[in-house]
Structure formats: structure tokens, C-alpha cells
């Protein structure tokens, strides 16, 4: 299935010339096959009756690889295999033994950092430098930290859910660290894991499953069921061995999933797409605050799939706006496999279109970037009471506060909030952070018995 290509976002604007592109990271490190399919399904033969999805290259719009979707029967069988593996070779292990296996997994994942970073660059346009320098260490930390829960369940009052299967719904915007944290936590509880990877997440999910096998975890304990078929989803939600679901996405999709799971009372850990908001008040370190906002702009929809906003005190607004505008202009848009790139293409043509239409003035895409890519240039947009926040992407909307009393109402729906300055000191003061041991314990308790 092919997604329509976006309209050229910068129609009418000249393409600017700049220094030649540097050498690109080897795309072969991703190990993308011509057809991504779940292990154990239809090797050497047409893959079941599931739909086949084309994965497009965000830098060109051309077909990068294809993903064989899982049929309802295949999905149910994969879940049953994970449950059987959990019961037969995992759940009866002591917490200490599970911890050792999971630490071995955390160590094995070091070899998966580069393939995952290159995969994210190819599939979702995530700059490879960020994948290697930020996402890689984050995923290793997440796996190590979650592994440590396996022998501490009693200490934190959590009962193991031995023998069940936790389904993790992964999308292109599921960071590898979140995926590994959830998978390792489920394994720490004695469960098996099934990665229900939407097509764009399938290559990364296959890397994770391969790392689990290489770490010596029992065969089929961590399975993959790629695809977006609603009937296959339903087959999973109806499975008797289903112990829990971890899913991200927009609020409406998560509400529907909660309804699907409500009859059976299956625990759902919903991780709504975070909209990131930075609140800059008097006393803030403007240098640090603007640098953090610019990092969020560069990370774009990858890190903040709900969009990015800044609420700034009136007295600081002009300076913050000037700094952000200058900083955004200095961000280098480029090929995601180029280590010098700050901002890669958007992960989907729809996001590129939305980002282009949110700009008030056309901007020129650098001439050395491949045509047909889903490029969007970084921008700082001024918003107000009558303008909507900008869409997800390398954009940030800046809104001036008349007073601090306005802040609570403007934070409605925000996922991650960072306050700079104000009565609690320069900060940053963060809420809604998904990383760290407190978030890990929360996940453990929601999945555990």
C-alpha cells in the first residue's frame, strides 16, 4: 500500500545552495530485508493472507522495503507461542535468574544500537547522530534499569504475572528506549512479550526480537506481529493469555483501545502522544531554556508527536523569540544518515504537509536534499488565543503570557511540561517524564498483579 506523496512543501521558493553533503552513515547497518516479516511466518512462501505494506523512504518517497502484515490467525498463534514459552521456560525462574537474563539482554543490546539508529534514520528520518548519541544510551539505560526490577517485585509490592503475554503496540514514534523499558519490565514480571509493530516500526521490532534471541532468552518468548490490521488486533485483544497492553498514540485511538480491552479487564498502559510545553518565566536561564526548546525543535515529531509549544512571560517574549528564531535558522536540515544533520525529513508525508501549511511564508529547501522527500524546515511560529498550536514537526509555537494565572488553562492536554524560572527557582522543573526509575516503577505496578 503506498501513501500519497505530499505536495512540495516549499513550492515557489528557490532551492538554496550550501556546502556539499558529508559522507553518509552506511545504510546497510540497518540490515533491512526486501520484505520484513514476523519470524516463523511464511519463510520462503507468500506470507499468509495479510496485507503487505510499502515502507517509504522519507528522504525520497521511494519504496524502502515492504512489511508483510500478520493475519489474525498468525497474530493469535504468535501470542500463544509467547505464552507457551513464558510458561515453559521463563515464568518459573526465580526473580534473581530472570534478572541475570535481562542484564544479559541489556548487554547484548549494545550491538543493536547502530542498527536501530540507522533503521530509525531510514524509516522515520531520525538523524543518525541523535540515534547513536542520544537514543542508543537511553535504550541501554532503560533496559538496564528495568532489568533490575526482576528480583525486587516483592520489595515494591508487585506480584509477578507469570505466564501471560504483554502486547506492546509500537509505532514509528515509539522510542526504542520506551519499547525496551516496557518489554524488559514485562519480562521481569515473568510474562512473554509480543511486539505488535505497526508497519513503520516493524524493522526496529525485528531488531529487538533478534537481540532477545541472541541474549539467550527462550525461543518465542519475545515475538513480533507486524501489521495494522484491525482484525488481527482484535484477535490479540481476545486472546486468553493476554496479560496487558502497552500502547502509544493519539487520545482517540487510545480511548478506542481501552474500550476494546474493557470487557476482559485487561490492563492498558496508555502512553498518549506527548505534546511538549516549555514555560519560560521570570528568573529563567534563557540560554538553557532556549537550547532545550531548540533541541525539541530539532527532534520534531519524533520526540514530541503531539507538537511543541513555548509559553513565555511577556517581559521575556521578545528576547526568547529572537533567540529561538536565530537558533532555528542555524539548524541544519539534511539527510538523516549524515552525522552533521540536525533535522531530518518528517516521518510521514502528512506531517510534512501540515508543517508546510503551518508556515506563514514559504521557505527554501536546500538544493542538495533529494527531491520528493518529506522535508520541513525548522520554524518558530508566534501563536495567540485565536491561533492553533503548530502541528508536530520541527516547529514550535511561542505564545506570550499576560500573567502566570493563564498557565494552568494553557497546559491542558500537555504531556511533558518543563518550567523554567518562576517561584521555584531557575529550574528546569519537569513533569510527565517517561524515563527514570519512578516511571519504571509506575509501569511495573500497572502491568503487575
Amino acid at each position: 500500500m503506498t501513501s500519497p506523496l505530499p505536495d512540495p512543501p516549499d513550492r515557489g521558493a528557490p532551492r538554496v545552495r550550501r556546502a556539499p553533503r558529508r559522507r553518509l552513515e552506511d545504510a546497510g547497518a540497518a540490515g533491512l530485508p526486501a520484505l520484513c516479516r514476523a519470524p516463523g511466518t511464511g519463510d520462503g512462501a507468500p506470507a499468509g493472507a495479510g496485507a503487505t505494506h510499502d515502507l517509504l523512504d522519507p528522504t525520497t518517497g521511494a519504496v524502502l522495503t515492504r512489511v508483510a502484515g500478520t493475519t489474525p490467525a498468525e497474530a493469535a498463534a504468535a501470542l500463544a507461542r509467547a505464552a507457551a514459552s513464558a510458561r515453559g521456560g521463563w515464568a518459573w525462574l526465580s526473580g534473581e535468574d530472570r534478572a541475570r537474563h535481562l542484564y544479559a539482554l541489556a548487554a547484548t543490546l549494545e550491538a543493536a544500537v547502530r542498527p536501530l539508529a540507522v533503521t530509525a534514520a531510514l524509516v522515520a528520518g531520525r538523524p543518525v547522530r541523535e540515534g547513536l548519541d542520544v537514543d542508543g544510551p537511553a535504550l541501554l539505560d532503560a533496559a538496564f534499569s528495568a532489568a533490575g526490577w526482576a528480583d525486587k517485585l516483592a520489595a515494591v509490592g508487585v506480584r509477578p504475572r507469570a505466564g501471560g503475554v504483554v502486547v506492546l503496540v509500537a509505532t514509528w514514534r515509539t522510542p526504542a528506549a520506551d519499547l525496551l523499558a516496557a518489554a524488559t519490565t514485562a519480562l521481569a514480571l515473568g510474562c512473554g512479550v509480543l511486539l505488535r509493530a505497526r508497519p513503520a516500526a516493524a524493522p526496529a521490532a525485528l531488531h529487538v526480537a533478534r537481540a532477545c534471541a541472541e541474549a539467550g532468552l527462550p525461543a518465542d518468548l519475545v515475538g513480533v506481529a507486524p501489521g495494522a490490521d484491525a482484525e488481527a488486533d482484535a484477535a490479540l485483544w481476545d486472546a486468553g493469555d493476554l496479560a496487558g497492553v502497552v500502547a502509544g498514540g493519539d487520545a482517540e485511538a487510545l480511548r478506542e483501545l481501552a474500550l476494546d480491552l474493557a470487557d476482559r479487564g485487561t490492563p492498558l498502559v496508555a502512553q498518549p502522544d506527548p505534546a511538549g510545553v516549555d514555560v519560560v518565566l521570570a528568573g529563567a536561564d534563557l540560554g538553557a531554556a532556549c537550547a532545550a526548546v531548540l533541541r525539541a525543535v530539532a527532534d520534531g515529531a519524533w520526540r514530541r508527536p503531539g507538537g511543541s509549544r513555548v509559553l513565555v512571560a511577556e517581559a521575556l517574549a521578545a528576547e526568547v523569540l529572537a533567540r529561538l528564531t536565530e537558533g532555528a535558522a542555524g539548524l541544519r536540515v539534511g539527510h538523516p544518515l549524515d552525522r552533521a544533520t540536525d533535522v531530518g525529513p518528517c516521518p510521514s508525508p502528512e506531517l510534512a504537509r501540515a508543517a508546510a501549511s503551518a508556515r506563514t511564508r514559504p521557505a527554501a529547501v536546500p538544493a542538495d536534499l533529494p527531491e520528493g522527500g518529506w522535508w520541513a524546515l525548522p520554524a518558530v511560529l508566534v501563536t495567540g488565543p485565536r491561533t492553533a498550536p503548530p502541528p508536530p514537526g520541527p516547529l514550535v509555537g511561542v505564545r506570550t503570557l499576560r500573567g502566570e494565572a493563564e498557565v494552568p488553562a494553557l497546559l491542558a492536554g500537555a504531556g511533558e511540561v518543563t518550567v523554567w524560572g518562576g517561584r521555584n527557582g531557575p529550574g528546569p522543573h519537569r513533569t510527565g517524564d517517561r524515563a527514570g526509575p519512578a516511571a519504571g516503577l509506575s509501569l511495573l505496578r500497572r502491568l503487575g498483579g
Binding site: D141, F144, S145, G148, D151, K152, A155, P437
Partner: protein, 244 residues
């Protein structure tokens, strides 16, 4: 240049005299500054490497525990395996201590530990690992009769942690009192016996002696109870043990 032949012989390990205790405390203080500044995950990874080192020398530990304590091989194996499990366990706590001990304000600095006469490996390990996980350093007075397992433990720790994080002293006359006078926390929960002189020394220096739990073994303490009392206090005097 002095004649090499006139130099005093190098001693393979600190013996436990007053000078040795002071030297050990200074080394531990330096190590604590470095170690305590490490992020929790880095400390956890280092402790996991210690666990791997313990496991790689399992046969040696089993042999020393058997020789020292006269245990059956199955008992010695169980003691060594439990110690490895403890090391793995505290490796996992290192980044989660704020959840285990919510009142924690920072690394505990240098903690003194008195090892019991028996149980020459597991008890010292159970006393030492929570401190190391929290970013502190330990000066351990080993069992007077069976010091070898504790020494091996020190060697294993030194393979992955900064030098001085675990200094093992021999129990000599007055070493426990000298140590009590030099630290704000002396963990004596794992050893019985007469602690009056130790308590006096600690009280005189404004330190605190952690006493054996009443009516039960220190092995029965949960993880929070093991690490909580090492929390640095703003003023240790009000909680200092009075001399009997």
C-alpha cells in the same frame, strides 16, 4: 636515592592498627568523593561487573569459605551464590534508591563495617553492597578468624570500582574502636559481642553505631532497612548511641 634493601617490607594488606585505620579512612574518603558522584546507572553497571567477578571466582570463594568456616561444600556454594545474587540485586537498586529510601539526600560518604566472627563472606557482602550501591565507600574490619573471604571480596570490588571504595582491615586490638572514632556511621548490625568500647569511641566522636536488630538476624532486614540507616544525617549527635 635510598638503598632499596633498607626499605621497609611492603605489607600485602592493611593490618588494622591506628595508622592503618587512618590511612584506610583517607583512601575511602577519596574514593567516596569519586564514586558518589557517579550516576546511579553507572554504579549499577559497576556492581554488576563485581557480581560477574565474584561468579568467575566462585570456586575460589567456595574453597575459602569451606576452609574458614568448616562448612559442607553445599553450604559454602549456597553462601557464595547468595552473595552473587546480592551483588546483582544491589546493582539493580543503584539507580532506584530514591524509591527505596525516599528520605535519601545524597551518598553516605564513608561507612565503617564490623564483620562477624562467622559467616565470613555473606554478612560482610550484605553490609557492604548497600553502601556501595548508594555511592558510599566502606572500611571493613574483617572477621578476626576468617579474613580471607572478605579480602577476596575487596579484590573483586576493586576490579570494577575506584580504589578505596572497599578497604578491608584485619581485626587487631583497637581497630574497631579506631574505626568507630573516624566515621559517622559504623554498621555493627552483623556482629554480636560486646560493643561497649565501640559505642564509647563512636559517641566521643559524634558518630553512630548501628546495633544488631533486637531478637532477629541482620539477614532478615529488608532492603530499605539495610540502606536507610546509612543516610547521611545533618547532625548525627542526637541519634548517637550513648556509652553504656
Amino acid at each position: 636515592m635510598a638503598d632499596a634493601g633498607s626499605r621497609p617490607a611492603l605489607r600485602p594488606r592493611p593490618r588494622g592498627g591506628g595508622d592503618d585505620v587512618r590511612t584506610a579512612l583517607a583512601a575511602a574518603a577519596r574514593a567516596a568523593a569519586t564514586w558518589g558522584a557517579q550516576p546511579g546507572l553507572a554504579r549499577g553497571r559497576a556492581l554488576l561487573a563485581v557480581a560477574a567477578e565474584l561468579e568467575s571466582r566462585r570456586a575460589q570463594f567456595v574453597d575459602e569459605v569451606r576452609r574458614g568456616e568448616g562448612l559442607r561444600v553445599t553450604e559454602a556454594v549456597a553462601a557464595v551464590d547468595a552473595t552473587v545474587d546480592d551483588a546483582v540485586r544491589w546493582a539493580g537498586w543503584a539507580d532506584k534508591l530514591d524509591l527505596l529510601d525516599p528520605g535519601r539526600r545524597g551518598a553516605p560518604g564513608v561507612v565503617g563495617v564490623l564483620a562477624p566472627a562467622g559467616d565470613a563472606l555473606r554478612a560482610p557482602a550484605r553490609a557492604v553492597l548497600p553502601v556501595l550501591a548508594a555511592g558510599g565507600a566502606v572500611v571493613l574490619v574483617a572477621s578476626p578468624d576468617v579474613p580471607r573471604p572478605a579480602e577476596l571480596l575487596g579484590q573483586a570490588v576493586a576490579t570494577a570500582l575506584p580504589a578505596g571504595c572497599l578497604v578491608v582491615l584485619h581485626a587487631e586490638g583497637g581497630s574497631a574502636e579506631a574505626l568507630a572514632a573516624g566515621v559517622t556511621r559504623l554498621d555493627a548490625r552483623w556482629c554480636g559481642g560486646d560493643l561497649r568500647a565501640v559505642r564509647r569511641a563512636a559517641a566521643a566522636a559524634g558518630g553512630l553505631v548501628l546495633e544488631p536488630p533486637a531478637g532477629r538476624s541482620a539477614h532478615d532486614l529488608d532492603d530499605a532497612a539495610r540502606v536507610g540507616p546509612h543516610r547521611p544525617a545533618e547532625n548525627p549527635w542526637p541519634r548517637a548511641t550513648s556509652p553504656a
